[in-house]
């Protein structure tokens, strides 16, 4: 009996348990669209959910690992999307004598003016732009703590959103504001044909799934790295972390940059998938939407964040508009359920805070804080000592 127990124990402690879960899950998810029509609405919902998972994983680095409350994550969605808008459309149509610049672009895109980079290059551009933006946004928050960080990041999110809407410096347009940058090139990967979303969105689904797998891999590696431990140490106790020789400025900026990079990846993908980049997308509510995913799943927990992102995304794009939307009508009320989405999110979050404040799949450390009061308040420990 004890042998079985110790076997179980060693299985639980198995280093690669996360890897095993990931492989099985991703394998099953990879073949599932083949059982659906190529333009199925449900696959569309799945593509969105996967993109949001990448985004939430990024925010989880900043808020969950490093403990820096970021309310302006929408800024990185915007920068990522504009990377796709700028570098994979005819937006800069007068560039290079209206002949355009083409690097690895698809056959159709290669005939158009403007800058047209291969999707992978767009992703690289998005990561570079957003990590720099992340650090710039992080800089003024370095001397701040807790709630004050939230306010500054919120303001930055709003500033970026405003810029996107106004979209003009002097006579030079750089966003097209609410007219949107459109069309953005179809997704094109080296060695493959262009993905034409008019016929099938399976390709987009698989790319999104690959991005999720990549993000999961990077997130686990980051969490277990030196840098990851430094983030957690800063979250636990800033003074102690500094006393251990952890460089505060560099470590915090790395958190902002890494988190922002995932926001950018996902943003560039969504810009490509939606085929347009519209300033209307970049609202404060989006930051809250992604933050809710992280909180619902469990701050600092990677699997929790994945679950939270999938749950909220499906509630938002499937359950509310498709499944339950008729309910108010059938009760004789004259409104759409979609008008209540944020009310529903709020209600869900309140329920989670009451029933399971540590989130759906909490990180171990956070569970300790909320269930047993360890580390929640130093003073309690002092008195007991």
């Amino acid at each position: 009996m004890s042998a079985i127990n110790s076997n179980l124990e060693s299985f639980r402690n198995w280093k690669h348990a996360n890897l095993a879960i990931a492989v099985v899950l991703i394998g099953a998810l990879a073949i599932f669209p083949l059982f659906k029509p190529p333009l199925d609405g449900f696959i569309d919902d799945c593509v969105l959910a996967l993109a949001y998972v990448v985004m939430a994983l990024g925010l989880n680095i900043v808020v969950g690992f490093a403990g820096l409350l970021d309310l302006g994550f929408v800024a990185f969605y915007a920068f990522g999307s504009y990377a796709a808008g700028w570098f994979a459309s005819d937006f800069f149509s007068s560039i290079n004598g209206e002949k355009g610049i083409h690097i690895g672009a698809g056959t159709f895109a290669s005939t158009l003016p403007g800058i047209h980079l291969n999707f992978l290059l767009v992703l690289v551009a998005a990561v570079i732009i957003t990590s720099i933006a992340g650090m710039i946004i992080g800089l003024p928050t370095l001397r701040l703590r807790g709630d004050y960080i939230a306010i500054v990041t919120l303001a930055f999110g709003e500033i970026i959103g405003r810029f996107a809407v106004n979209g003009q410096i002097g006579g030079f347009k750089y966003t097209n504001g609410r007219q949107a940058i459109s069309p953005v090139d179809a997704l094109d990967l080296p060695l493959l044909k262009e993905f034409d979303s008019a016929f099938s969105i399976r390709g987009y689904y698989w790319v999104a799934l690959t991005m999720v797998a990549f993000s999961l891999f990077v997130n686990f590696r980051l969490r277990d790295s030196r840098l990851g431990r430094a983030w957690i140490a800063i979250r636990e106790d800033e003074v102690a972390a500094v006393s251990m020789g952890i460089p505060l400025v560099k470590t915090k900026l790395m958190a902002y940059a890494a988190g922002a990079a995932f926001g950018g990846l996902s943003g560039a993908f969504l810009g490509t998938y939606f085929n347009s980049v519209n300033a209307n997308q970049f609202q404060f509510a989006f930051s809250i939407f992604i933050l809710s995913m992280v909180i619902l799943g469990g701050l600092g927990s990677i699997w929790g964040t994945v679950l939270g992102a999938i749950t909220l995304s499906f509630i938002n794009s499937y359950f509310i508009p498709d499944v339950f939307n008729g309910i108010p009508g059938s009760l004789g009320l004259d409104f759409d359920l979609t008008q209540l989405s944020f009310g529903i999110f709020g209600f869900l979050l309140v329920m989670v805070m009451i029933l399971r404040p540590e989130g759906l799949l909490p990180e171990k450390r956070r569970r300790l804080e909320l269930k047993e009061g360890i580390g929640a308040d130093e003073a309690i420990v002092e008195v007991r000592a």
Binding site: R226, R229, A230, I232, A233, E236, D237, V239, A240, A241, V242, S243, M244, G245, I246, P247, L248, R365, R366, L368, E369, E372, I374, G375, E378, V381, E382, R384, A385
Partner: protein, 235 residues
């Protein structure tokens, strides 16, 4: 040339001048004590040395290098590590993870043998290796904070009030260990309100009063000084 030379430092919290020109030296291999009442500037002196609150005036030299305005993480790198006031263990990390954090800047092969050494100094920590630091008693957390500071392999160890809020029997154990750490060759600068034990393990002491050094002497003389006895030794 002393290992640590603090020369007329003035340190502020905002506009409040907490240190009004503190000077002190620590020789290699020595234990030096700073005593003083609440608000005298003991912890501020340590925070100035470790870079958490760099002084606006004066200079701090360590091992013949000027470290007055060096960033805290680089001060750990040159060989000064501290067990901060109030211990500041990472409450939701295990004992072992806390000790690992102490070796954050190191990349050598001796980390695990140094950890064994810490466990030898504090057998209690070995027993609680996998326990979360926040669930341990104040005394155990103090041991962990000292052990964690040792894991940085410092030349100079700064200890801020190791007896604060700890059961008397554990205070004695901790001071025995501090003496043992010193016997193994560590230089220690110690801050204490509880002057009895501190003066027992140290060779020299400084008495701080409202941000200045009021008195300095050998620890034996300080213990026999009637003023010090009245003010800090409770006799």
């Amino acid at each position: 040339m002393a290992l640590l030379e603090v020369e007329g430092i003035e340190t502020y919290y905002g506009n409040i001048k907490a240190l009004k020109g503190v000077s002190l030296t620590v020789e290699r291999g020595e234990v030096v004590t700073l005593i003083g009442s609440n608000g005298a500037g003991k912890s501020t002196t340590l925070r100035s040395i470790s870079g958490l609150n760099p002084p606006r005036k004066g200079s701090i030299r360590f091992d013949d290098k000027d470290i007055t305005t060096t960033a805290p993480q680089d001060i750990v790198r040159v060989g000064i590590s501290q067990s901060p006031e109030g211990r500041k263990c990472f409450p939701r990390m295990t004992v072992r993870e806390n000790l690992d954090m102490g070796a954050y800047l190191r990349n050598d092969a001796e980390i695990s043998s140094d950890m064994d050494n810490v466990f030898e100094l504090f057998p209690r920590l070995k027993e609680r290796e996998k326990q979360k630091a926040g669930t341990m008693s104040g005394g155990e957390q103090q041991m962990l904070a000292i052990g964690r500071a040792l894991m940085a392999k410092p030349t100079l160890l700064l200890l801020d009030e190791p007896s604060m809020g700890i059961a008397p029997i554990l205070v004695e154990r901790i001071y025995e260990t501090i003496a043992e750490i010193n016997r193994q060759g560590m230089t220690i600068l110690l801050v204490e309100q509880n002057a009895n034990f501190a003066l027992e393990v140290s060779s020299r002491g400084y008495v701080l009063q409202t941000g200045t050094v009021a008195l300095t002497d050998t620890s034996d003389n300080l213990r026999n000084d009637p003023e010090v006895q009245k003010a800090y030794l409770g006799s």
